[in-house]
Amino acid sequence: MLLPACGPQPQRVEDVPAPQVVNVYSHRHYDVDKKLFADFEQTTGIAVQLIDADDDQLLSRLAAEGANSQADVILTSDAGRLGLCKQAGFLQPVRSPVLDANVPAHLRDVDHNWYGLSMRARVIAYDKNKVDPKEVATYEALTAQRFKGKLLVRSSENTYNQSLVAAMIAHFGREKTLGWCKGIVANMARDPKGGDTDQMLAIGEGLGEVALVNSYYIGKLLTDTTTAKQKARDAMAVSYPVMNGFSGTHVNVSGAGVARHAKNKENAIKLIEFLSSDAAQRVFAEGNMEFPVKPGVAAAPTLQAFGTLVQDSLALAKLGELNVEAMKVMGEAGWK
């Protein structure tokens, strides 16, 4: 058995003719990412080396590595974490006309530290046989007496629940949001448990009538052909809700930034630009049921079937700033 090699496997700075690489720390584990990285490698000749792990742990690894970090690109699936990376000084600003053109302003950092690359919307899945679409047009509607004991939702530990509550705090302030959270807790059909898919399966089983879920998992469930998910597929419809007085649905992004101590900065920028291109955006949309950020690229037909997504125009940087407050509000409301 070989002794484990000491020293880094990735590129060494001194070796001049070394093959071109870009080192990615990712919190996404999707098959489409592998495909996109392979496409990138093919078109540019730059090899993508990957570590994927849970994002908070990735952040602690970045913190421990400091200036020695081998990360070139940081890729996470939550705008809050991107904001945190910026705050912690893990990212550096980059100027890229390509990125500025491809990524709308509210989906990127003001100081060009990070760029959103694909979106998920927090939407309402409902039982189309029991619920009128008009009853689920807003997030506030979920707290109505009508849905007492009928609401299915994940725990407050779920990032997307946190970012939704953070967005509400940004729009309405703490008190009103606390009231909403209490309303959610009062209407829960059961203690929060399981993942997003579990909430939709529960609708199929008649355990609840409405569920707060991520658009990504809806797309996955509706295109899954296994019989175990048949009941949920048959029963379910989707509403893109808005917040009272505002015109858009809450979205969060997967996004990327160039690491502060990137050793391959040019390659890093190339990779992020590539991910914002039409071709890559289409892969996010069709291959992974995410909404493209680039205007003009269409969402997957499965998701378009329920209407066109109109995004809440809140600057996503706010989500990071308010996430802690959101956790506390949810805790105070008794949201497990």
């Binding site: 000491c6 880094p8 400091g66 946190q162 805790g331």
Partner: protein, 524 residues
Amino acid sequence: MTRTLSILAAIAALLLCLPIIAVVAAPFYNAAPQWDYVGGAFLWQHLTGTFLLLAGTVTLATVLGVGSAWCIAMFDFPGRRFFSWVFVLPLALPTYISALAYAGLLGPTGTWSVLVDDLFGFRPDIMNLPGLCIVLALVLFPYVYLPARAAFSAGLTDAFDASRTLGASPMRRFVAIALPLARPAIVGGAVLVSMESLNDYGAVKHYGATTLTTGIFRAWGGLYDQGSAMRLASVLLVLVATLLITERLLRRKGLRTADHRPMRRTPIAGSVRATVVVGCSLLFLFSGALPIGALVCDAVSVADPELFSDLGVATMNTLHVGAWAAGITLVIALLLAWSERFTKRNVARSAWLARLGYVGPGAVIAVGVMSLAGGLDARLATMGISGRLLLIGTLPLLVYAFSVRFLAVAAQPINAGLAQQSIALDEAARTLGASPLRTFFSVNLPLLRPALIAAVLLVVLEVMKELPLTLIMRPFDFDTLSTAVHSHTRIEQVREAALPALAIVLCALLPVLALDRLHGRPRQ
């Protein structure tokens, strides 16, 4: 020589302690901006959950483990040999995988729950705290079963013969003789069960329970407060330190026996036999057959030849790091056990501190290790050798982290094995002029062989199942079987996760079966 070795032992122990010290010390120098919130009701809520989970799981696992061990060791009945090894199988299942399999069957939308609902009009739901205790106990009971079976199988014969002539009932023999004699073994197993439940994250989170471990991640992830997370980790470590000290105290008071004759099993018949056979069958069904069967079904439904090549690489990676971690922990555990037995130094006595790593959730240990290594890397960089000798993201550092985390796993069978060897043995050798070292090598070590093999296999098994630490500390493009499982379960692809999960179970089968042979075979 003795002196050198005990200094070496102290250094090794210190090296493995460092990351834990880094975690425990973190609260003193790290800011914890959200502690006002985390240290209040939040902490109590998570502590309560932890105690409930611990009480439920440990009680149930002990009852199952002792009960099954008693039946296997004491009675002859159809299928005894079969049950004797299949009760070890659950050790091959990572808790998060078993929990997922059970949720798929008996969760609110599980296949069986739906079936029961259609037939009887009520819907079982295992995804709550009591359900979690049951699922964990079904996976973890072999930790009690194995040592208890070993203790019941040998060493009781003389006492039993005596008690029988005195007219003691079987029940009285169990309570008054078997339990006290097997107590160190049972307590040792129960401690392993409690440590496993304390650091469990995947299963606990999926079932919606709140424990200190989920609290750590809630503070870290949701509140962006690593300082508070580390404080919670310190609370957890203090809890475990208490457990370990208790075990040591109990072990010291334990009875020892010089009787190594194997137990003569009693044939049973009639209703007793029926009860034992049915009980054993049910235990096998729920602890092994059902979750593994569910995995096989899922794996078959998604089997795709392309997936197998990735699987091969991941398997080799897993075994590679596993073997290294096992070798290192074994040597250090022996060194510590030796100096604990032969030198009276306080350093040696506090060696158990190095075993605390077992309970820190993997991610916390990783933070401890990485903060040390990061500091070292920065120091190296200022010396101008940066880029050549980085530690973070290398296999040696990963193996070191595994050693920190799993020293206790290697130490447990070794210490228990040594504890069973009467000091009179050492004294006889010493009287004949043998040095402590020679005594250890020619008297203690040969007798310890089964424990040594057990130690190696257990560590490999743990490395195979470990997830969070591997996930965060691995080099670029380095997948193990457990990270392969994770990459699917994270995005709720439960069926796709079944293939690597099954690979873990299959790889783990070998060590698990070997463990079965090592425990409870009559010693010479």
